[in-house]
Amino acid sequence: MVTRTSDGRLVRRPLSPHAGIYRWPITMVASILNRITAVALSVGSLLLVWWLVGAAEGPAAFAHVQSFVASPIGLLLLLGWTASLFYHLFAGLRHLAWDLGYGFAKPTLNPVSWAVLGLTVLATAGVWVAAYAEMGG
C-alpha cells in the first residue's frame, strides 16, 4: 500500500493480508455454522407447523404432508433439518456454557468445535438409522 510519511514523502508500506486468504480455523466454521443452521431451522419450522396443521385437519391433509416428506426433496429437506437441529442444539449448549464462563481456554476451543460437529453427525445418523429400522428397513 502506498501512503505518505508525516513529512510528505511517498512510502510503500506492508499491508496485512486480506481475510479471504486465510485458511478457516475450525472455530470460525463452528461459529458461522451455528448461525447458518439457525436460519435454516427458521425456514424449517414451517414443516413443523404444516405437520401439526395437517394432523389437525384430517386424514387427507395429513396424507398430503406425509407424501411430501416421503418424496426425495422432502427427505433431503428433512435430513438437512435434522442435521441443522442437532448442530444448533449442540452448538447452543456450547453457547450456554460460554455464557457461564466455561470453555474459553485456547486448548479447548478447537477440540470442542470438532466435538460439536462430530456429535451432530452421530446424532443425525442415529436418528436416521433408527427411523430406517422402524420403517422396516
Binding site: P59, A61, L96
Partner: protein, 145 residues
C-alpha cells in the same frame, strides 16, 4: 407566538434529557436473556419432540392426532411451538442487525419476522388445541359435528 412545529420530529427526547446525556432505558439485557432462557427450555423440548416423532413414524392421522391431543403432549407441543418461534424471532433479529445496514430495511424485516413468527406460532397452537379438544365420547380423529 408559539414556536413553529417541525414537519417531522426526528429526536423524541426532552431537551433536559439531551443536555444531561442520559437516556438509557436501563433495560438492555432482556433480549439477550430471553434468547438464553428460551434456548435452555428448547433443549429438553426438542429432545422430547425428536423421540416422539420417531415413535410416531409411519402412523396414520388419527393416531398422530390422538397422540397430540393427549393433555401432556398438547401442553408440551404448545410450549415447543411458542418457545421455538419466540427464540426464532429473537435470533433472526440479531442476524438482521448484524448484516443489514439500511435502518428502514432492517426494521421492516424485523417487524415482518415478528409478525410472521407470531402467526405461525398461533396457527400451530390452534392446531394443537383443536386436536386436544374432542367431544365426550368422540373417536379421536373422527369428524366432529
Amino acid at each position: 407566538m408559539a414556536p413553529q412545529k417541525p414537519e417531522r420530529i426526528l429526536v423524541m427526547r426532552s431537551q433536559l434529557g439531551r443536555a444531561r446525556g442520559l437516556g438509557a432505558a436501563h433495560a438492555g439485557a432482556e433480549h439477550w436473556w430471553a434468547e438464553r432462557v428460551t434456548a435452555l427450555a428448547l433443549v429438553p423440548l426438542t429432545v422430547w419432540f425428536v423421540i416422539s416423532v420417531l415413535s410416531l413414524l409411519g402412523a396414520d392421522q388419527p393416531v398422530v392426532a390422538a397422540w397430540a391431543g393427549r393433555p401432556l403432549n398438547a401442553a408440551l407441543l404448545l410450549a415447543l411451538v411458542g418457545i421455538t418461534f419466540h427464540h426464532t424471532q429473537l435470533g433472526l433479529q440479531v442476524v438482521y442487525e448484524d448484516y443489514i445496514d439500511s435502518i428502514t430495511l432492517r426494521h421492516a424485516l424485523v417487524l415482518a419476522t415478528k409478525g410472521l413468527c407470531l402467526l405461525l406460532a398461533l396457527t400451530a397452537a390452534v392446531a394443537v388445541i383443536k386436536m386436544s379438544i374432542t367431544l365426550p365420547g368422540a373417536v379421536p380423529g373422527a369428524p366432529v359435528h
